[in-house]
Symmetry: C2
Subunit: 150 residues, 2 copies
């Protein structure tokens, strides 16, 4: 994808990222540092948990989506700068071996009220696994710069 | 904090976690893996960015809040199981050396409609630095089990 500025985005347009495969080692490493709960930390404890198997932390899930969006480079020139997130949901668990892709839809666009050369985009982000089950849905509010004037 | 079940929570009550200090090495390590942007990756590039200094990824910020909440052990018996998040905002940047604390307020409580022995809590979570500036505000929707019957 080509790097863009605020003017270049159109409400309704869609982007798809590359794919990312997550493994059990990465799920456990993230959980040890940031979400040390039995269903994220080891196969045996996870099998006796409410999930019945090892699943990724929801915050690991959001971090993987961020990586895919940054690496798409669509916002490389301006930065992927989040002001906030609305309606974050984890409708299905993320499991070892899942191959993930993020689909983005521009759902809102508003120029800066202060007249600064920038604006905010609202971008719906949905991450799917290889069975097309949604593991993350959220609407990001992004600060995006306008194209520099010559 | 003592571990609790769904029945034990009261709308309006508040909890405060322990504190956590974040350093530049951890900010950079997280960013390399999940948010590889110049303002998160090195001091020199960050100084020339929109932030003017090294700042943590917003997703690193949420992960640190999760760790503090899990380690508070208030939901140890039932698990901290998030269905989703509403109104996530990052009002101030998180910087190296910041000492963080999360304040939680129970803002909603609803028993399971299916009659299962569980319910959902809505918990407003606000993370502050040592200057009492808010670096994260969000409302978590948590699935919480009822106390097991004898």
């Amino acid at each position: 994808l080509k790097s863009r500025y605020f003017e270049d985005f159109i409400v309704g347009e869609r982007f798809t990222t590359a794919t990312y495969e997550v493994n059990a080692e990465e799920i456990v490493a993230f959980a040890r540092q940031y979400d040390p709960q039995p269903f994220h930390l080891d196969l045996d404890s996870a099998s006796r948990s409410i999930f019945g198997e090892l699943v990724a932390s929801g915050w690991h899930t959001t971090a993987i989506a961020m990586r895919l969006i940054v690496e798409s480079r669509v916002l490389e020139a301006t930065g992927v700068i989040g002001l906030g997130i609305d309606e974050l949901r984890w409708p299905n668990a993320l499991r070892p071996g899942d191959k993930l892709v993020v689909r983005c839809t521009v759902v809102g666009k508003e120029p800066s009220r202060s007249g600064k050369p920038r604006g905010t985009l609202r971008v719906k982000q949905e991450m799917f696994n290889q069975r097309d089950a949604c593991v993350l849905s959220q609407t990001a509010i992004l600060l995006v710069a306008c194209r520099p004037q010559a």
